[in-house]
């Protein structure tokens, strides 16, 4: 039997998992990723282990990406978007828009010269792991500003500064939508002054800081903060923004992050401002109990943030215990930004003829089966259909792969 072809849109943890599962059954997978790096947001998350693993799942992303790069029947399409999709006789024909890809993956040895010798930051971006290949991506801005440098820096001749956008076409038997989410933009909550104060950071910013410095430091002075506040539900469960959903990952994220930060800096004073703490893992009651003895939990979402000397900040809250407003000053404020629908969802919905729910995530066509869409041959995986943890994105992607195999009639 001729080998089946499947197109997976999105190279995050859901897309990677679905690709790996399908490839195991001899399916040829085309994995389409719009950025220059596979792995999605989750590949940038740091390990949250203390003396023991806290099951954040970040290393599972690393592991899955490695497996995908080592699987011959998965073709990776980086810096690629899907332009059109047509269905005829149970076959989808898609046109892809690729690039421009300035680095030739065949020639690039990931030596890093272009990155280390770049005249300024932002010319060349580096990936997250050895499993990102090419490990480097040249930005549009880099090409505009430093064309001559880029034209001459690579000893392997892997950089072509004249690379242009290319089109390609693809015929596939099924499509998996694994286009993921968009982190909430904290600027939409102006009273938190994210754009103004360097020491108000989002969860993703904190990940970047931890990757770069190996621990949590204040962006303003690169010093260890003594007092850190986590503000939960930034962008989630927010009626005023019309966001009537819980992002599900931010409580686990904040609690695990706080544990791992505290493990590295035991003297750090951590406060968590919250509405309701959400569970994670089957051992949650014990974990939450441990957290309660390590951190201060205040059931109140701060109203706004004022600047203080030395780049510190004061939060204004309602103190439930006192029944009165209160102020407290911190060295660093972490905003637990929520999971929002990918802004591309509407155009993907139009492209494929599958529906979005009122929140802007993709709906599933059956009540209990979460990976079926209203279109035959199109399946859904991961946070494209709503907030999920890494583990549940993987499980959802496994389910989608199962549905694809059923649809294609692939047995082993």
């Amino acid at each position: 039997m001729e080998s089946k072809q499947v197109m997976i849109m999105g190279g995050g943890i859901a897309g990677l998992t679905a690709a790996r599962e399908l490839a195991e059954f001899g399916v040829n997978v085309h994995l389409i990723e719009k950025t220059g790096f596979m792995g999605g947001y989750a590949i940038g998350y740091t390990c949250k282990a203390t003396d023991e693993c806290l099951q954040c799942g970040a290393c599972a992303v690393e592991k899955t990406l490695k497996a995908v790069t080592e699987t011959p029947n998965i073709k990776l399409h980086l810096s690629t978007t899907v332009d059109t999709v047509n269905l005829q006789n149970h076959k989808f024909s898609a046109t892809l828009k690729k690039g421009p890809c300035y680095i030739d993956p065949e020639k690039c040895t990931d030596c890093g010269l272009c990155f280390t010798q770049a005249p300024e930051e932002g010319v060349v971006l580096r990936g997250y792991t050895k499993n990102n290949h090419p490990l480097y991506v040249i930005t549009e801005e880099g090409i505009k500003k430093h064309r001559d440098f880029l034209a001459s820096v690579c000893p392997e001749g892997a950089i072509s500064v004249d690379a242009a956008t290319e089109s390609a076409s693809l015929g596939v038997d099924a499509v998996v939508v694994a286009t993921g989410f968009e982190p909430f933009d904290p600027n939409q909550k102006p009273t938190y002054r994210y754009a103004d104060y360097p020491n108000v950071v989002s969860g993703l910013d904190m990940e970047r800081i931890k990757r770069e410095y190996g621990r949590l430091v204040r962006p303003s002075d690169k010093q260890d903060p003594e007092k850190v506040a986590f503000i939960q539900c930034v962008g989630s469960r927010d009626e005023r923004l019309g966001h009537l959903w819980c992002s599900r990952v931010c409580c686990p994220y904040a609690l695990r992050s706080a544990q791992s930060i505290k493990h590295k800096s035991p003297d750090m004073d951590i406060t968590i401002f919250y509405m309701d703490i959400q569970n994670t893992g089957k051992n949650f009651p014990a974990f939450y109990q441990a957290c309660k003895s390590d951190f201060r939990f205040i059931r109140s979402i701060p109203v706004d943030i004022f600047p203080e000397e030395n780049d510190r900040m004061t939060l204004r809250i309602f103190d439930e215990a006192q029944g009165a407003p209160a102020m407290e000053t911190f060295d660093l404020v972490v905003l637990s930004t929520g999971i929002m629908p990918n802004p591309d969802n509407q155009s993907i919905s139009n492209l494929l003829g599958i529906e979005l729910d009122t929140d802007g995530f993709f709906t599933h066509a059956e009540v209990l089966n979460q990976s079926i869409t209203s279109q035959n041959g199109i399946f859904i995986a991961g946070t494209a259909s709503g907030p999920k943890t890494i583990a549940s994105s993987m499980a959802h992607a496994g389910q989608a792969a199962g549905e694809v195999l059923k649809y294609l009639g692939v047995t082993k």
């Binding site: 693993c53 290393c59 490695k66 819980c246 959400q278 569970n279 499980a395």
Partner: protein
Amino acid sequence: MTTAKNTQETEIIEIATDVLVIGGGYTGLKAARAIAENGFRVILADQEAADNLNRFSLLGIAAPMENQLKELKDAVAADERIEFLPDADIKEAAGVTGDFTIRLTSRGEKMEKKVGAVVVATDIVSAPLNHIYGLELSDKVLTLSDVEEKLTDAEFQNKLKSDQPAVAFLVGFAQEGNPLLMKRVLDSVLAVNEASSGGATSYVYINDIKVAGDNLERLYKEGRDKGAIYFKLSELPAIEQQGGSPVIGFHDPVVRSDIELDPDFVVVEEAMTANQINPELAEILRIDLGPMGFLQTDNVHRFPVSSNREGIYVVGSTRDIQDLSDAWTDVENTVIQLKRLLGDGTREIPKFRAVVDREKCVTCLTCYRCCPHGAIYWDDKAVISPVACQACGICASECPQEAIQVTGYADDEITEKIRTAVSEVKNGAPKIIAFCCENSSLEAGKTAALFQYQLPEGLRTIRVPCAGKVDIHYVLTALIEGADGVLVMACHPGNCKSETGTTFARWRIDNAYRMLEETGIDKNRLEFVTLASNMAPDFAKIAVEMESRIG
């Protein structure tokens, strides 16, 4: 010593393709049907006595779902590939993946089944918690299940309509709540509102609102919009029950006053807990019992449905508190794993994954006991199942007779690698040998090198399949051959793909420390650390720190 065999050599073996499914609730039925649809024969064993599949785990199921459940039940009953065994009691599971012999009774009758794989789908159990609130159940004090049932009853609906009662819900003080329990409360609040045409008022006394589930935030808002009042309290409210009528009081910090309510009905939360049969099944099937009585630890290296034994899967509420759509997700993931494992009944497998030297084996069964994957059995000597074996090598390093060798990691091969590595470092740089688990630190080290993090010049890594493969001899060999420092880099506890590899490695290194102390060798030359694959900066930092310590 058994030396390296041709690692490419494979053989084709036959395996049993029937599948045992344990549990006749929704998840078990769904699993049985999905597995049968993929062409496998299924033995569906349910511990309940009912012989007509009339039992479902209906917790939190809205009425329209019942039709779907009935369809599923009928499909299972009509499916000739599914053999249903009611009132079943699993006694023993002998053998290994692809070749299990299950001894059980059904309605007291003894039987023996050959299966290739096992799927555990036990239901969640619900129990009233009124005693924790100091409440006696009565016609005014109801369990959540009671009220769910009554809300479908026309008489009760009419009573709600005519009496327009105040209904109090008590949730999250007797246990940590969860989204499934929350959904039941949110649904009940809306049902009270609808049945009473908006006349009844729900007062929900709750700790944390657990809305991390599909649509729950929206249901929460809908309930409040329709008049439900939520009191979020961090402590149990004061409850008095005199003559059947409870009074609930607490101090509201927001309005700074005491609020007392004398509701017409009180609905008390229920515990939703793992099935009490789980520990017994864990022991019989030799799989890990996780926290709170659920099966399996949360190990990120495995798919959530995979247990520590290849070919044994845990789905739905067997492994955590999960709703029906999560259970469906689990079932489909299990089917995909089964298809890969059992296929058409033949498997091509590496011939020499791990080999027991039958001359040396004294059948002490150390390997049987320490294998975290339940891959070892015995005839008159120990035998390692090539289907079940994950090649972690823990058995090889624990075997007191040194009778086991893992292909690609035979002791003489590793010794040779250590010698070569030490002799490679020539220019006087401190020689550091790092034994790296391929699942974590080996990856971190490769990324560290590619990212050009500062690394000791004399650092050499030796790949092992698991830190549990690091034999104390390897450490001593490295030191004897001239290494200045030895790093043993394992996964974090709870993250070891083979569950216990980190523990075994740590024991051995603790022993090695004692030996170093006795022989007067500086203990600083040996270090045991735990790392994850995405910790390249930490890998570099650890290696550099060791270099400066011993240099």
